[in-house]
Each structure stands twice: as C-alpha cells, then as structure tokens.
Amino acid sequence: MLFEVKDLHTQFSTEEGVVRAVDGISFSVDRGEVLGIVGESGSGKSVTSLSILKLIPDPPGRITGGQILLETEAGKTEDLVRASEARMEQIRGDRIAMIFQDPMTSLNPYLRIGAQLAEVLVLHKRMRRAEARARSIALLKEVGIPAATSRIDDYPHQLSGGMRQRVMIAMALLCDPDLLIADEPTTALDVTIQAQILDLIQERREAQGVAVILITHDLGVVARMADRVAVMYAGRIVEEASAEAIFHAPRHPYTIGLKRSVPRLDVARGQRLSPIPGMPPSLARVPPGCPFHPRCEHVMAVCREKVPETREVSREASAGEPGEGKSAAGDAAAGATKATRRALHVVRCHLGDPALDTYHGHPTSPAPEAQQVDQPGGGAS
C-alpha cells in the first residue's frame, strides 16, 4: 500500500473547548487510485488533508494520535506523524503534493509563476535555474497552458481562474509525486472549467500513476473521478466503499441524505430537493452517541447513547475470510489485497447492525434502499 492513514486524530484547542476536527479516521490509497473524501463543510475534510502534510497550524491544532504511513522504498513505510519537520519539508511538494481550492488566492500574487514553479525543482531536485525553467515550461505545456514559454513570465493575476488551477496542478506534479491531494480543486471554478480540470487530473493519474486523494463536497465530482469513496461526518468516516457501492447501495443515512440532496435531471419537474435537515454539529460540541443522530430519520434509542463501531456490510469479492466480518475498517483494509479492498464496504451506523438494530428487525435487514431516493416525498422531515 502506497499510503495509509490509521486512526488519525487531529484536535484544535479553542475557547469553546477541544475541537476534534479529525476523530479517528483510517483510509488508504494505492498508486493510480483515486480516493474521494466527501462531506459537508466542517466535516473535517480539509483538516484531514492538512494533517497528512502536517500543515496544521500549531498552536492551536495538533495531531494527537494515529499513524500516517507512506511507503518510501519498496516495502518500507515511514510514519509521517513521527517525522521531523525537516523530513516533512523533504516530503512536501516532492512525494506528496497538494492542490488547493482557490487558485485565485493560492498562487503568490507577487511572484511570476515561473519563479513559483522553478523553486520547487531547485529545492527538491537540486536543479539549476535554467533546467528548472525548462522543466516548468514542459509541465505547463502538459497541463494545457497555451504559449507556455511566454506565460511562464506572467504574474498570477494575468491568468484566468482555470489557467491558474492548471498552474497549481503543474506545480504539484513537477516532482512526480506519489500522492496528490486535491482539496476541492474545482469548487472555485465555473462548471465548464471544472470538467477540464478534472479531466486533467484524471489524465495525469493515468500518465504518471499518481495516487489521488480527492476532497470535495460535490458528489458529482466524486462519481466521475473516484475509485473508492469515504464519507466524512463530524470528523469521522461514516461510510467507505467503492464509488459504485456508494452511489448505488449507500448504507449510512447520511450518505443517502447527501445523495438525495443532489439535483437530478431525471426527476420530474417541480419536485423539491430533499436536503438533510439541520446543520452539521459544531465540532466542539459533538452530540453524544452517533454524531449524526439529531439529523437522522432512522434514529434509534441506541444511537443517542452509543457511538457506532465501523463494520463491514457486504463483501462482493471472494477473497475475504468469513470471520473477518466485524473487524474495524483500518485493520480490514490493511490486510486486504487491492481487489478485496475495492469491494470492501464499511459503514459506521447502528442501522442494519444485527446486534443493535432492534427497530429494523432481522440481521440482514436491508438499509434504506437506493431506489427510495427517487420516491416522491421520500420521508424527509
């Protein structure tokens, strides 16, 4: 496995108390794979991405537990949580690169883009300026910047938003990173540009075999890009499965709600969207039990008291051992081969849990079905 996060905790000390922005999440990505992380604003997606690069401002933030494992050479892994700042500086921009949300503000307005690109190569690859410039121009061409040879001497404000995001992507790919973290890479762009940028990321993934963690609140983006999807809520991953399973057989009521909130073209005119009622909780005051219970339409008594465990709900591939059914997501993912992992579907919900789901009856009770999503008046309050 190229990259693996195990039981990561990131906390912020604020005046309101300790904010558990990332509260024990685990996931992994392999070369050439795209992991989508979705969730509403404030669910901890961006803190996750900043935690991976250890760019959490400290104070007030701090990684308080877990492991961030990066494969260094074949077979060897390194725990970034315990890596020194000097070591992190070697990794950032070289092994793990990042694309940020807003290309309008993420490039330095005071420096020519050529200087901002070349410094990465000078730093990590010890290139001479001329060499770094040539490589920068080559990469600008690869990401589709017309007249790259002259554009490289532009300042960011002379480029359009889409062009700037292309520059950001070029900057991230300069050193052939193993892992690319794209934090809402298309949110600030208009729709036609969005598609181009996503195509570009997809293309680079195929060309360079880079692993991608795609963080977004846009299910459409995830549907288009991701192999696997992790759904975050209140700093936790509440459901993780292949993109297909997330879209066609979501298990967690939150995932179902998210899906239902997306406008669709194939639904009759005049029908209202049914967004999830309420707001995500303040991470300083996460409700006891399952953090989603105040907004959940299937809430049971146990949800208010007990935090649900992560459990596996289905396994379409054959490779799994039968006894492994209830293992935590991290362990299961760690032991699984790529093929089984692809099929792994875990959810963190009492609903449908044979041991706890008294309300919905028998163990194999199907979770709210995907079709239900399309039914008129589908039960939203």
Binding site: E89, L111, E119, H124, H157
Partner: protein
C-alpha cells in the same frame, strides 16, 4: 515606468505653487513683522530696512517679485535676520545635515522596526511577540522631547558614551538618529507585524509550505513582500512625521539643520526663510511620496502605474 515617474514629478509643480501661495499669504497675515522686536529699532532704521526688502510694496507685487526671482533665478531672496546670507545659502548649508539626519533615522527605523515586526508576527502570541510589541508601544507613546533628554541623561551624562550635542562625527550622530528614528521604528514594527500576520494566514503562504519550503524561505520569499505593503505605503506620511520630529531633535541636540531655521524663522517672521524652508520640505515630501508610489508598483505587480 519612466513616463510615470516624470508625470508624477511634474504634477508636483502645481501643488508646490499652491503651497507657496498659501504660505506667502498666511505669513503676511500673521501679526507682527520681521523688524519689530522687544528692543525697538529706531524708526528711520526700520523704514530703511523695510524699503530695502520692499516690504512696503503692495502684497501682490511682493508676491510677484518673489515668485519671479524664484522661477527665473531659483533665488529665494535674502534672509531678514541673517543680513549676510541669502535663504539659498542657508538652505545649502543646512539641508544636507537635515537630510543626513532624516535618512539615517529612516534607515534606523527600517532596520529596527521591520525585523521586530516580523519576529512579532512569526512568533505570534509568544513572549517574543509580546516583548517586541510592548517595546513598540513604548516607542510610539514617548514623544521625542521626552526621549531626547532621557537619552542624553543616560548615554551622555551618566555613561559618557556619546556627546551631548552637535553634528560632527558619527558619535555625535547616534543619539539624534536613534531619537528621531525610534518612534518611527516602533510604528513600523506594528505595521510590519499586522501586515505579516495577514499574509501569513493567506492561501498562497500555505501553498508555499505545501511545496516543502522551509519556514525561513516561506517568510522571506513568499510572505515578506505582501507583508511589507502597509509599511511602504506608510513611508510617505512617515517621512513627513520624521521631518516634523527632526525639528525637535535638531533643536535639542543643537544640530545646525533646516528644522532649527524653520522654527526660528517662523518666530522671527523671517518671511523669505520660512517660505524657502517650507518649499524645500514640500519638494522633499512630494518627491518621496512619488518614490513610494513607484516602489509600491515594484512590490505589487498588480498595481498599474498610470
């Protein structure tokens, strides 16, 4: 760029004319004149003096003559209280000294204030930040006429490190320069800290960190330019504060700079000298502001000169 600078410098002229006119008129409306003193001059002597300096001509003619002399010959006229010297001579002697003091004080302010502000921002909410900002607070709050005697008392009269007054060797310059520059240094520290704090939180600085740059390079290469913008825009007005401050400093340290003449001339109703010194100050200030505009465009490529 060159066109902008020329345009900007040319635009100084009309402003200068307005300054000259207003100053001329106001000076003449101030009660008293150059030759009425407590020890009365004999009437015929005063008459002769007034005639010599054309002070009995109609005001408009005096103004016209003065302006013509200035424009055609660059002649600012005679100084009434220094019978052997013209205003031009006085300025030629005192301006370089004032400039030395001003430039040294500004360099001192930049060298002290900017690093202090950077430390404050980078180590925000630590004891270093608190110490830097407390020092700056004191520096901003203490007026120069308090600071100067205190420094003389400590560093000249107790420790004997520096001379008490005059402007001769570098040892003479230390106390006046520090005294003139310290309030500005303090203000610059606060401005730098504020500007840097804003930039440090910005997205592009996060990008720079994500590229793997060391904290030092992030600050110096990526954050500093943006963080310096408020400082640069303050340098214009800051320069005028410095000039005003140097009036006090020159007086206290007995430095034969222009500031001293300015104050004395105003007291003595030495019309020509006041006008001359004021015009020089005006030119300095406006040229400096023009330079600041150019510097601004150099730092921030988004600023269009035009």
């Amino acid at each position: 760029m060159i066109r902008f600078v020329l345009k900007r410098l040319l635009s100084i002229l009309p402003t200068l004319l307005i300054v000259a006119t207003v100053a001329f008129v106001m000076m003449r409306f101030v009660p008293g004149g150059p030759f009425d003193q407590e020890r009365a001059v004999p009437a015929e002597v005063e008459r002769a003096l007034r005639a010599k300096y054309h002070l009995d001509d109609p005001l408009a003619k005096q103004y016209g003559d003065w302006l013509w002399a200035l424009v055609s010959r660059g002649d600012l006229g005679p100084a009434f209280k220094y019978p052997n010297r013209t205003v031009n001579e006085i300025i030629a002697l005192s301006l370089p000294i004032s400039m030395q003091l001003g430039v040294l004080a500004m360099i001192f302010a930049l060298l002290v204030g900017v690093p202090l502000g950077i430390v404050g921002a980078v180590r925000q909410n630590t004891w270093k930040d608190t110490a830097a900002m407390a020092t700056a607070m004191v520096g901003v709050s203490i007026p120069r006429f308090v600071l100067a005697p205190l420094m003389i008392l400590i560093f000249s009269l107790t420790l004997f490190w520096f001379p008490v007054a005059r402007w001769e060797t570098w040892r003479h310059m230390v106390l006046p320069v520090v005294c003139a520059g310290l309030p500005m240094a303090a203000y610059l520290a606060r401005l730098t800290r504020g500007g840097m704090l804003e930039v440090i939180r910005s997205d592009f600085v996060r990008t720079a960190r994500a590229k793997g740059l060391s904290e030092r390079r992030v600050i110096l290469r990526h954050a500093l330019r943006g963080g310096m913008l408020p400082v640069v825009s303050y340098l214009g007005p800051g320069f005028s504060h410095l000039l005003v401050g140097s009036l006090v400093v020159e007086k206290i340290f007995n430095i034969p700079g222009m500031g001293r003449y300015f104050v004395e001339a105003a007291m003595n109703r030495d019309y020509n000298l006041v006008l001359g010194v004021m015009l020089v100050y005006g030119v300095l200030l406006m040229v400096f502001n023009a330079l600041v505009d150019v510097a601004y465009a150099f730092i921030d490529p988004r600023v269009e000169l035009g």
